[in-house]
């Protein structure tokens, strides 16, 4: 039996209140979709089967280099974090797995962690290594790089850390390693672009060699931050080179916030699918840089356009296409659990809308260069208010019609606020 963090009675009571309205809305939408030849049940089933992993680090309050303002009941460790993740999944039924970050989530006994996950009904998604900061007691510093460091021993330490992440992941049932590094430079001349990338590739090859046969390795590109002049894995072009150099288990991870201003991200997604190297996503939203805001909160149409590419690829049975879906956000001004609930819903919303696109009509408009009707075909799907589908998918799976409301009713935050000591915020004096 899965342990429930939100009392069944509270959830049932909240759903009870909203059941009739949902039923009416679902039927009205069903009628409307039926007119267009679409079965709402079929869409609801597909949505119910769409899952996204929650990042363990996402349930704690984030911050910026200027300050961090913790909230009530901040999780103290990975066990607390798993409980918070369980709440998200109980209410959304969309997030059955958690993605860990080592060393932040390192424990003495991974088996105990696995049991804790099992008890909460949670599995373990991709492992994330960390060589962008120095762990306590670490012998060599990553101040000037990790996998691409000029010093061979530092690179070796970083390689070994990644291998350790694989080993922990094997104990937990994970099947993928995500490698994001901050390596780069702050000033022209500081690094040699070519030698740095050669060293990076050598290190990655050493990690790749240790990758279990049924695992995938995801490399993640990012334009800038923490490096402010050059970044070793700066864009999808470099990321593609990496995946190609490493081999068939290597894929590119796309974080929606890691691109230059104005870049057409959905097109990058299409290219990586076409060349069989799309590994998956770190979902979030942004207005300026790597803002790590809640998915779909700034530009919901862009999120939809990304999902349009994913559904299109499904539709044409694209080869080697089985992307991993993960959220990667920083929650600075909201309750992290609420932001993750909302984001999981938004991601499913974009997926549901993309499923509604009339692909036959779209292709026909594209072929005849009817730009207006082609674009309206996407817009028609995007404009559909699919909330009844999302709610029904949650309800059917034992979740909440309105997960935020149910969460607030449950008093979970206040409860953990009592159990978990308050955390001091403030500034590091890093400006």
């Amino acid at each position: 039996m899965t342990e429930q963090k939100i009392a069944a009675g509270i959830l049932a009571a909240d759903n009870e209140k909203r059941g009739n309205t949902l039923k009416a809305d679902y039927e009205a939408l069903g009628d409307k979709l039926a007119r267009g030849g679409i079965s709402i049940e079929a869409i609801t089933d597909k949505v119910a089967q769409f899952f996204v992993a929650v990042p363990s680090w996402g349930v704690g309050t984030g911050g910026t280099r200027f300050a961090r303002f913790p909230g009530q009941g901040e999780p103290r460790n990975i066990f607390d974090k798993l409980e918070d993740c369980a709440v998200i999944h109980e209410l959304t039924r969309a997030t059955p797995t958690v993605s860990l970050h080592i060393p932040w989530d390192k424990v003495d006994d991974p088996k105990r962690l696995k049991s804790h996950g099992d008890a909460l009904g949670l599995g373990f998604d991709a492992m994330n290594s960390n060589t962008f900061s120095d762990a306590m007691g670490q012998e060599r510093s990553y101040k000037f790089g990790s996998l691409s460091h000029t010093d061979a021993a530092t690179r070796q330490q970083a390689v070994e850390h990644n291998i350790e992440c694989i080993e922990i992941g094997e104990a937990l049932g994970s099947k993928a390693l995500t490698v994001w590094i901050g390596d780069g430079s702050n000033f022209p001349g500081q690094s040699d672009f070519t030698r740095s990338f050669e060293r990076y590739l050598d290190s990655m090859k050493a990690i790749y060699k240790r990758l279990p046969g049924d695992w995938r390795i995801f490399s993640e590109h990012k334009m800038y931050e923490p490096a402010f002049y050059s970044t070793v894995v700066q864009d999808w072009g470099t990321n593609y080179l990496i995946a190609t150099e490493l081999g068939e288990k290597a894929f590119c991870l796309v974080d929606l916030g890691h691109h230059a201003p104005n870049v057409n991200i959905e097109m990058i997604v299409a290219r990586l699918i076409q060349f069989k190297k799309l590994g998956g996503f770190h979902f979030n939203d942004s207005k300026y840089g790597d803002d790590d805001l809640d998915a779909g909160s700034i530009d919901p149409y862009r999120l939809f356009l990304v999902f349009n590419e994913l559904v299109e690829a499904e539709h044409r049975n694209a080869e080697n296409f089985h992307p991993a879906h993960m959220i990667d956000q920083s929650h600075n001004v909201t309750d992290p659990i609420e932001s993750l609930i909302r984001s999981a819903n938004e991601i499913r919303r974009a997926y549901a809308q993309a499923l509604l696109v009339d692909r036959k009509a779209l292709e026909s408009y594209q072929e005849s260069n009817d730009a207006l009707m082609a674009s309206e075909t996407l817009k028609d799907a995007f404009r559909t208010d699919v909330e009844p589908i999302l709610a029904m998918a949650r309800l059917n799976a034992g979740g909440a019609i309105d997960p935020i409301a149910a969460y607030r009713s449950s008093g979970y935050r206040a409860t953990v606020g009592k159990a978990r000591p308050a955390v001091a915020g403030g500034s590091s004096g890093i400006v």
Copy 2:
């Protein structure tokens, strides 16, 4: 007698080595400039009279939200920081003042601080308040804003903090208060733009009321970070409105890294001068966002173009024009003292180059729309290698011909590395 942090003998020895070469280079450049009717001595004198304030927080190693990697001999407090600042001034003779940050630099007895500054030959530039992070023991949090917070008591607390900064500044001999706030929102709808700005203006008026008669108040705009959807003081347009609403002692501060991509910053500088509201600068450089890199390290021509506006304004005796020059950088991969030395030199370099512009020719080309020759007139000045002028200005004032070399010779970093305990770096787990 001013206390010297760099032994006079070391400095003299280093200068001795380089004296003859400097003399030759200075003469060659002097001849070349003389051919164009320019007196190298006049330029050297002007450069020698150009000063820029060093930020107290700049002498510690900075960081990002991902990690901080401290260096050797990190300053423990404002007294250590002042000593590091003294080193910079001893070698560059360009940075006689320090800009403090409260509460980071708050001490029980400002008079003791003043004496320490006096002993080191340092004065105190603009005071900086901090309401973008929560100080230890602070009653109300700035998580959701400070001067624009919806809660009146929180705004009051922020106002009082600024007034306290003025009071400390008065004790230290400062003549200006710089107000930069992180207030804003991360999501559409989170804040009402209009009411937030009304509250901000009310708070600023309360601070302004307390401003001593011979002080100026500088408001500083920034496009984003720490807020990722909207920022209350987001650009120079809003900043200008603030300065106008407040009164004649209120001016706009321009931080070179706080603008949208591609924005023409030198034009903003020109507009603020023309409308008599340019207060001064936070100098640094950036490639992506508020990268806080060393001045002139990414786009030295842009720095020159800013100084071209300043010299042009001097040239035509622009009204109400007496900008404050301050550095505001984050030094993550260099010795902060070295980066500040370099930056002070770069700022003087841009000033010296701007002084070389043939303004009569420039105006004539502008009037006749000779775009090519007008732009070449600026380039001619920019291309001049003015290092001999900068070095001679330093040498004449008792500084170093090559301040980085002299600093390295002095062993200062190793010395303070012994006296000051090592600082742990690592990650906050904020991603």
Copy 3:
């Protein structure tokens, strides 16, 4: 009687086909809104009263510096253009006025133009002057600027052209002049920022002096293009200075595509409203620069957020708030009439969605810093599929339920394709 360009029978037949479905959808939405205490009829009425002007130049196929690809039946002159504009209004009932561009739309006898408009049921919105290109036979060139040119006679010519635009507008019943200039520079040094702006202000004052008492003058800012280094009226800060310098009949025009990357445009709108200087809009959408794409086609949520500010200002009875709504787009790959129909609908859509925002709830969440619920309050309104409201507003006013479909049924494009000779496209060799 207004002359109809689309046969009444065709329109009626198309509406007939769609009437029942619309009725059902409208009722279902009405029920849903009623549950939230909102009267769908009240919203429909407000939408029906919302109008946006169509630009005369928008009904011709646009182009880029690389090429222009004309379509069938390109309008030959302003009389043809008015007929195309009439089609848009007949079908949408949202665009009763046309905005002219002089000299492109200059005719010998403005009264005849007025009569033509009257016959088609069209009025005349803001006049647009053109000093960014040289008209045939023009004495002095605007190659190096117009209102800010270094040459007084050229400035005078540009001033007189603007006065002529006012005079034509008076004959046509227009009540506003929009001034957008391309003045600026391509190279650092080419122009003196300060003197250029002084000259611009002087010229504008001369125009302002001639402005009829019941007219408004709108200045329009733009970051870049056609000038590629500096632009005299480059952003809202400068635009605000202009409106303030000129006087109470002067206002700022916001073109949604004229901003730096990532800029928060809705916040600029809010600031201009707060300081009583928002004149109106040039609606369009963009992904990169001034792309002039169909409104809402790239980022529909951004368009909604702009309207959220407008409705908020209405809601609180903001002073001096009566913005002009105009479309300004370039239609390169669609039938311009279709793009304008769609855009008019999208603009009304954003308005309708903004009307649905629960402003009481929003304010309460804002006051209590409930960032998540505040942002969801906006999203709830945005997610509502208001198409039934838009369609009913059109239908009630005599327009089309589905204006694109009705337009295509009408065969209008083929008809004018016969009457109007084909236009050669091709490239200017300008690259």
Copy 4:
């Protein structure tokens, strides 16, 4: 004997005036460089051997979609253009080849063109095809694409045009074909990203098949414009895929103005060199978009950093490294000949500065992570005023010490202004 467009006497007289000063400056710089162990003669020789191609379309005045303002003596055809190009080379001795654009430069008899080039001492660089605009009388339109068009016959027409370009090029002695297309879309949904790219690759393979054995084909990426939502060849990642799919004669062309804001272009250059696919450059400068301004006029340090990568690659004998150097600019406010003279000089300047980098020191600082000294090593080279080297290289090769001055003295523009009829400018009404 090569025909001279600038009378030898005029050139000699201008050089005579400046010879002594140059000699003095060259000696002073030589002494300075010698102190650092560098032979000024060796650098001068390398600079003298560095050439860059001039684009035939660059000698006419450019324009924007808003207007074009022609100058005096606009070239009427490719024969006139070649004469203008000859002037540039006579004075700079840096531009011995011209890059043609078909059909703009198409002539009945390529042999006559070849003879004209021979007579002027000019060769022919890469051929440029044009499928981004419709040529007069062209059967099928490129309005909706060319090499990636949905219509097979249109694609075939575009393929054949490219093959024709190769054939013309063969007659002229060219050895490369540059393919830049405007294909893309203006609205989400308009094109299928994947199918478009498949079609593009098929078309390119058909062209590649026809490529002579000793030719190279360059594909050029561009973020946007003329397409404003998606572009088929949008970035270097896609460009790399193209070059890889096509084969060993296919390379990537980098235009400095075709990137997203803030992108680190020099790093892209390094990656393409490392993976053996850098074909060459279209040099220009930009502040906002594809501004096509004079090389080095906006950010000279960026141009230097690109050349730093090129010299570094030379230094380590990078494999498959022999980049083509071409200018691609639009001259809207200057005499095009002057802008091209200046740009050729700026490109050589960046090369000369990059040659001065102390690569041994740089590598050592990089290896030891001495970020400050590494970056200062680049800056030291950049700060060197290498104008005497450039001037001496020109003088030694028979060019001008000050080519702009000599050009102005020659009265060439006035002379051709008499022979070539004035061209009307004005606006296309495309906005």
